[in-house]
């Protein structure tokens, strides 16, 4: 599309205060989300992918704060709003959060309140942002539940979370996020807690909703397979940094960063069976508090050179559009 990105994150830094130390969870992260597209952010646990999402939503816990960079969002009227400058939990961010940018969390079991009905919890978001009476809100929620494939939604509206199966709870979470027709949806590991056949249902549903409503989506996951099948662009994160960012084809068919390449070689691919030996990445993911002078991946990298240990690699643009942070290309 000719228009600019709907969301741009520029040099974001997020820190957590742990005792007297501050931990850098996200370092110098920049990316843009194009309208109506799906951006995947992949990485292992502790790489900062969820913190990035929570930073955008201003949902960081008390110990966390954005210490640098900025997050820009272009609203429906074309006005640019700086999310990172908004007061935490102020009126401004609350008018955006849930209405214009919504989020789906990983664990549907613990993200729903067990003492309220499902429908009530979904309608809550709607009533917060729109002037509706309860009857109208109920009708909207029931219609959306039907669209999400929940059988007899009028009846299920009054059910409690424990009466829903895992897949249905995740549908309810999607309904909660989608009820105000948000322009951006951030899905944080939306299917990790689910079985594969249910995962396939939920991903198909998200794709369908995205196409129908033109929502722009950030999908956060550790599963390379899910990214390959749903996203348009991919950012690969390691230890708080985006090490490589490019189109799906660029990342999967010709990964440039050694971490991306190693990650792709280390997952078993269905159909190849045990014939091909998996290549593993040596060592373990360092503790989040480790401070690196050079590249964070250097201790585990097969292509590291002396320089990698001393200096952090700058970001370079390769192949026209992809961004890589590695001394091999600097």
């Amino acid at each position: 599309m000719a228009e600019g990105p709907i969301l741009s994150v520029r040099n974001l830094r997020t820190e957590f205060q742990v005792g007297r130390r501050s931990l850098r969870a996200v370092q110098d992260v920049s990316f843009e989300l194009a309208r109506g597209r799906m951006l995947g952010i992949v990485g292992e646990s502790g790489c900062g992918k969820s913190v990035t999402a929570h930073s955008v939503m201003q949902l960081l816990p008390k110990a966390g704060r954005i210490s640098g960079g900025s997050i820009h969002y272009v609203d429906g009227s074309g006005r640019e709003r700086v999310l990172s400058a908004m007061e935490r939990n102020g009126r401004e961010i609350r008018s955006v959060r849930g209405r214009e940018i919504a989020m789906i969390f990983q664990d549907p079991m613990s993200s729903l309140d067990p003492v309220y009905g499902i429908g009530h919890q979904i309608a809550e978001n709607l009533l917060e942002h729109e002037r509706l009476d309860r009857g109208e809100a109920r009708a909207r929620v029931v219609a959306l539940l039907a669209e999400l494939g929940i059988p007899i939604p009028e009846k299920r509206y009054d059910d409690y979370p424990h009466q829903f199966s895992g897949g249905m709870k995740q549908r309810a979470m999607i309904a909660m996020a989608m009820i105000c027709n948000p322009r951006i949806l951030i899905a944080d590991e939306p299917t990790t807690a689910l079985d594969v056949t249910i995962q396939a249902q939920i991903l198909a549903l998200m794709k369908q909703l995205q196409e129908r409503h033109g929502t722009s989506v950030i999908l956060i996951t550790h599963n390379m397979g899910i990214v390959a099948e749903t996203c348009d662009e991919v950012g690969v994160m390691y230890m708080g940094r985006i090490v490589e960012l490019g189109s799906l084809e660029q990342i999967f068919n010709a990964p440039r960063h050694p971490y991306t390449a190693a990650l792709l070689r280390s997952v078993p691919v269905l159909g190849l069976g045990g014939r091909k030996e998996l290549e593993s990445i040596r060592g373990t993911t360092p503790d989040a508090s480790t401070v690196f002078e050079g590249c964070e991946f250097e201790p585990r990298c097969d292509r590291a050179c002396p320089r990698c240990a001393k200096e952090s690699a700058p970001e370079r643009i390769l192949d026209g559009s992809r961004r890589v942070r590695c001394w091999l290309y600097a």
């Binding site: 895992g166 897949g167 396939a200 198909a204 390959a228 069976g273 045990g274």
Partner: protein, 340 residues
């Protein structure tokens, strides 16, 4: 064809569902419902299925953490005869326990945080009579070396290790008892992607080195296929398909296996085949559907599926990929001459 080392016959595990203050039994969760499987000497048998299909319960029955409701578990003894583990009493029963060990899913909760690694190893070694303290320490040392950890780690505590290291320790602990069969219950699903490959490759290497037989339980089909010689697919307490792993992928016969295979996201662009989306959720194992348990979700169901339960039968005319590898499926469609 290799001989069976472990034979599971008509195994069932039902959990009572109780109601009211008197805990009256109102029904049963049929977690494992009359399963027959044989595990061959030196192979890896994969058990795959969605949550609640009974794969973990079956694994726990094998190491007798659960007492099965009915059925037999036969283990080949030194003289070549098959011994029913469930009918053994006292000392005899105890002695066979060492021969089947288990590695659990969550390496965080399977190590006692207040005991160091040595005492975590030492207890089972002492119970099973592996010599005096010094001898047992040697065994721990050797086991830690086998999983590429430094022997002096035995004096450390679980919190000092990462998830991947803990899982190595759990594997080493299982191996220290010199078992013949290791039941691995989702050994890598709690680990990060970059660590998973390390553990899987390590397990393959150990299998060769110590001539182990694995029962490998996982929900991730790509992992199961990578590890296993043969794969059994379970659904609601039943084995619906059993085949060697290559022919399961190339020519599965059960509609559930087909849907399960197609649902796995593949990290290679353009590899996607048509996805079969199943409707609905897995039904409750308390009151499983009549006839074939998969019929309410099956895209290929016929009238007979609602009434008659299909039996696990060998597929005739299947391309036998490996010597003596039978392909078994429990589906009325297969009985009628295969997939259309």
């Amino acid at each position: 064809m290799r001989d069976a080392l472990l034979e599971i016959q008509d195994l069932a595990k039902y959990y009572p569902v109780t109601e009211g203050a008197l805990r009256k039994v109102t029904g049963h969760v049929k977690a494992v419902d009359h399963v027959d499987l044989s595990v061959r000497d030196g192979e890896t048998l994969g058990l795959v299925g969605e949550s609640g299909c009974g794969k973990t319960t079956l694994g726990k029955c094998l190491v007798r953490l659960h007492r099965p409701t009915s059925g037999r578990i036969l283990l080949r003894s030194a003289d070549g005869s098959m011994q029913d583990l469930l009918s053994l009493q006292g000392k005899e029963s105890f002695r066979t326990r060492r021969r089947i060990q288990m590695v659990f899913q969550d390496p965080y909760s399977s190590l006692n945080p207040v005991k160091n690694i040595l005492s975590a190893f030492d207890e089972p070694l002492r119970i099973h009579g592996f010599g005096n303290g010094a001898r047992r320490r040697d065994i721990v040392e050797e086991a830690l070396r086998a999983v590429n950890l430094q022997p002096d780690y035995m004096y450390r505590f679980p919190h000092e290790f990462s998830g991947g290291q803990r899982q190595r320790i759990c594997i080493a602990r299982a191996l220290s008892l010199k078992p013949e069969v290791v039941v691995c219950d989702e050994p890598v699903s709690a680990l990060d992607v970059s660590i998973q490959a390390q553990i899987l490759n390590l397990m393959k290497a150990l299998q060769k080195q110590y001539r182990l037989t694995y029962v490998f339980i996982a929900h991730d089909l790509s992992v199961v296929q990578y590890m296993s010689d043969r794969v059994a697919v379970m659904y609601l307490g039943k084995v619906v398909e059993l085949a060697d792993s290559a022919s399961l992928y190339a020519g599965c016969r059960h509609p559930y296996t087909e849907a399960l295979l197609s649902a796995v996201p593949i990290p290679v662009l353009g590899a996607r085949k048509d996805r079969i989306l199943l409707s609905g959720d897995v039904p409750s194992p308390v009151d499983p559907p009549s006839g074939c348990r998969f019929h309410p979700r099956c895209p290929k169901r016929m009238d007979v599926c609602r009434e008659k339960e299909p039996l696990l039968q060998e597929v005739r005319g299947a391309p036998a990929a490996a010597e003596g590898a039978g392909h078994f499926v429990a589906c009325h469609l297969a009985e009628r001459g295969g997939k259309r």
